[in-house]
Symmetry: C4
Subunit: 122 residues, 4 copies
């Protein structure tokens, strides 16, 4: 089936610099969850925006047809890694409709905290 939009944004971004618990599961992380429910491969370009410098990117991802990709921002490194403990935001543009959701696991303290929200789309 086809569901979603091609242009998305997440205004919040912040990868905690510290973690508690076994990695990789309990490593503090921010994730962009991409769902491509359609029958065509999705080519996705992520731009990362900062407070006081020009944006970096595009970070290029491919999501196969009828697949989901849960991409940790921690693991993006081309063209450059995202610094820890730094405010950022992102835009996600795909050539076919996808659905985008944002999550963070924060394990700076002994007990983890989680957030999630469907991203903004238009």
């Amino acid at each position: 089936m086809t569901i979603g939009r091609r242009t998305w944004a997440i205004a919040e971004g912040w990868i905690p610099a510290r973690s508690t618990g076994p990695e990789p599961e309990m490593l503090s992380h921010e994730t962009v969850c991409l769902l491509n429910a359609g029958d065509t491969e999705a080519h996705v370009r992520i731009m990362v925006y900062y407070t006081d410098r020009e944006p970096s990117g595009p970070y290029e991802l491919t999501v196969a047809p009828r697949r989901t990709l849960h991409q940790r921002f921690n693991d993006l490194d081309d063209p450059e890694p995202i610094p820890k403990a730094t405010n950022y935001a992102s835009t996600i543009v795909s050539d076919v409709p996808i659905v985008v959701q944002h999550t963070r696991l924060d394990s700076r303290q002994a007990e983890n905290a989680l957030v999630t929200t469907i991203a903004f789309s238009e």
Copy 2:
């Protein structure tokens, strides 16, 4: 009253493999909350998408008129259960308008963490 849409998606999905505290209340779980505020029975079909295999489903649910159903993904087993500690995503299609919200209780550590978001609709 009639409120909602017929096509929904949740890009995030991950059932923790471990739990802390008394079951079933504190069992780590992911839930899809369905509200059918209308006067007609809703027939709902959920498809579950993975990272590296074809989707499974449809999982078929019925929501009676003027009722809510909070369905744990943990408990879906026809055509097959959803594996723990595995990334997934889902689409939810109904034959009448419904409202869909996604929640997770994560009790891997001693203190539980919760997330929620209204799902994406179109």
Copy 3:
């Protein structure tokens, strides 16, 4: 200013039966946050939907012009209180545009967990 819509829904609802910490601040609760940014009084009617019985309500609230009301579901009692540890959902209908957001504080365990989402509107 005028912002918002007149018909809203929250598919998730569940008031924890237990709490940890000083009341009323750390009492486990679910809240519907209503913003009436306009210059006309908002008359709001909430219906509460259950899994296995007919809905209850309307619960009637008034939000003055240029005011916000953060109403705990715990405190609704006319026509009847909402039972604890019970799945429910809700619709919120206003005669003027408002904005609705849903939050829960869960203090069943020693450390509190929080969720929030903007409600579904149409």
Copy 4:
């Protein structure tokens, strides 16, 4: 690129009066995350609404082109600071399209809790 809308609202607002852990990182706070992905400076005006008094503001912010600003409500002080442990809500109006997301870190207890949601837009 241009993404977003010019009128936003957050119905929930509450800055915890207590915190646990090193400041400023673990200070209990509420934040409005603004993304201006476009090529024109965004002039943003925030109004803050209360339960039982007239709104305060506008609080004026500027977001440079291709930048994100994560503004803590705790730090707004012109025309007046926002009181702690007090229910509020907010509207955010920009002269160019932006994306707005709301987050709270609550460190009243030893382990922090987090929430986030994309704000309401129209």
